[in-house]
């Protein structure tokens, strides 16, 4: 029991530290990186649910991110809805596309599904590129309104234009996301997803309607990715077709693999590590005038696959996937 108490204490402490960071560190650049890391935490976690837990290899995940970003941005700019509602609309529209992409997954698996998902993302990227009247093409949508300020009393309201305040919005969004994913993964639904990943015909043979589960997990995963995209749109206030690119998906993939595929903590660790690492590498790139970032990503991916399949979190036995699962 005391072990349990310790865990709770650590958790409480961790949450306190996360909330205190912007109060102690006021460096805007650092907070900006924390926000970006946070957006990637949501994004990688949603990809991890789909690919790490359910085994559906999706190499078009950036499409959901982009759909969420464009949907919210366009609805707010053209229709005039509140950005807060836009966040959810981004999630819902993305979830709808998730459901659509789930349909081919009923019959396709492995590399075939992977190729289909790449095609899906590329089509959407080209649409965003070429539908100039709506998306302004490769210029991207700029001047996206920030999240509307919340008025607490006359003369006092919380604005969401600063990195610091946005950080708090994101922190809450991440807690809710991870809480949902934790409940999902540990429930019967989660065990069923894993059984499907391990052995699809096997899961069918004990009565799992895999079609339903695949569509469900695609929809849920896409919702959270779209929500992350919408958050990004109102934070960065600029969305370009690059958000839908294959490179973006590979960043998600590398983060998750490095952190630990199929674990809850993995995507969180991976997203934070790589966000800061890639910023560090930016300085190196400026020095050597060479795009070393992708080289290093690739290298990290190879090392992870060869020597630490379970990623960084796998190095700490407490979070391991294998052996004693504690279930």
């Amino acid at each position: 029991m005391s072990q349990d108490k310790y865990n709770k204490l650590w958790k409480a402490l961790g949450i306190a530290v996360l909330f205190a960071i912007p109060l102690v560190i006021s460096d805007r650049y650092f907070l900006h990186l924390m926000v970006m890391a946070g957006i990637f935490v949501m994004l990688t976690s949603s990809w991890n649910l789909l690919t790490g837990y359910a085994g559906q290899i999706n190499l078009g995940h950036a499409a959901f991110y982009g759909i969420g970003a464009y949907t919210s941005a366009l609805l707010v700019m053209k229709v005039g809805i509140s950005p807060w509602i836009g966040l959810f609309m981004g999630g819902f529209v993305s979830a709808f596309f998730g459901l659509l992409l789930g349909i081919p997954s009923i019959r396709l698996s492995g590399p075939y599904l992977a190729i289909t998902t790449i095609g899906f993302a590329e089509i959407l990227r080209l649409v965003a590129m070429n539908w100039v009247e709506l998306t302004r093409g490769s210029l991207g949508l700029y001047g996206i309104p920030p999240l509307t300020a919340i008025k607490l009393s006359p003369g006092f309201s919380i604005e969401f234009t600063s990195e610091r305040n946005f950080y708090y919005v994101l922190l809450i969004a991440i807690f809710l996301t991870l809480f949902c994913f934790k409940r999902l993964v540990q429930s019967e639904f989660g065990i069923t997803l894993k059984s499907m990943r391990d052995d699809e015909p096997g899961a069918e043979s004990i009565g799992v309607d895999t079609t339903r589960y695949k569509l469900a997990v695609f929809t849920i995963s896409a919702f959270f990715a779209g929500f992350a995209g919408a958050l990004f749109a109102h934070y960065q206030r600029l969305v370009s077709p690059d958000t839908l690119s294959l490179g973006e998906t590979f960043t998600i993939l590398t983060m998750t693999m490095l952190g630990g595929l199929g674990t809850l903590a993995g995507p969180v660790v991976g997203a934070i590590l790589l966000t800061f690492l890639s910023e560090g590498l930016r300085f190196v790139e400026d020095m050597v005038k060479l795009n070393v970032r992708m080289v290093i990503y690739g290298f990290l991916l190879i090392i992870t696959i060869l020597f630490m399949r379970e990623g960084v979190v796998g190095l700490f036995s407490h979070y391991r996937r294998s052996g004693d699962t504690g279930q």
Partner: protein
């Protein structure tokens, strides 16, 4: 209970089952014998709905199975333990067992869990371990235990003794007899080990090149000259 009428199944142009009729009555333990490629596993897969017959009918009680998708067939209580001890390697032993009870909504799951842990104490010891880390015999035990948790009405076992050490094989056969006698579960057993399997069966079928070569009571088949020569090795 289960009645198969003159079904034909083929993989592309290769005919695997060429007009088989077979019956399993409630409470029976029926063995399906046959050499490699005779169509035993194909027959089980067809009953489970993974393969579909070109012609013929499969009926279970009053339902047509040959037009039903696999997951619905499972819901009728037709549970197959596939060949080669297929367990979910990255789920724990306990999670595997829970997956066995996937289609159940009743409250008897906990009691059945106790029952299989009693049958296989090794699984209880290893319940938190990844199923992929089990030995061959343990994995087979888990596959059978998972099947029991599905509360089968018709329990189909595909070569449960395949590749197991003799001691463990005997244990497995003992358990199969136990669940048949104590729980009254109807069993359709596919085996290569003719003597052990026929010895405890009510009836048996011998498949040869996709057709039923012989059928009869278990005891009669053991004493049949042809069976002795071809399957018992004396």
């Amino acid at each position: 209970m289960l009645s198969i009428e003159n079904i034909k199944v083929s993989y592309g142009k290769a005919m695997a089952i060429d007009g088989v009729s077979l019956k399993v009555e409630e409470g029976e333990l029926v063995t399906l014998l046959g050499s490699n490629g005779a169509g035993k596993s194909t027959l089980l897969k067809t009953i489970s709905g993974i393969l579909k017959p070109h012609t013929g009918t499969i009926r279970f009680d009053d339902q047509d199975l040959h037009t039903m998708p696999p997951h619905q067939i499972v819901r009728l209580g037709i549970i197959q333990v596939p060949e080669g001890r297929e367990v979910f390697p990255e789920l724990s032993v306990l999670e595997n067992l829970k997956m066995g009870a996937f289609t159940r909504k009743d409250s008897g799951v906990g009691k059945d869990l106790d029952f299989v842990f009693e049958l296989f104490p090794r699984l209880k010891e290893r319940r938190r371990q990844w199923a992929g880390t089990l030995s061959g015999g343990e994995a087979q035990m888990l596959a059978i235990a998972r099947g029991i948790l599905s509360a089968p009405k018709l329990f189909m076992l595909d070569e449960p003794s395949l590749g197991l050490a003799p001691v463990i094989r005997n244990d497995i056969f003992k358990v199969i007899r136990q669940i048949h006698q104590e729980r009254g579960i109807t069993i359709l057993l596919v085996e290569q080990n003719a003597k052990l399997a026929l010895g405890m069966s009510s009836r048996g079928y011998i498949l040869e090149n996709g057709k039923v070569g012989l059928e009869g009571k278990g005891a009669d088949l053991i004493n049949n000259e042809y069976v002795k020569k071809a399957y018992l090795g004396y």
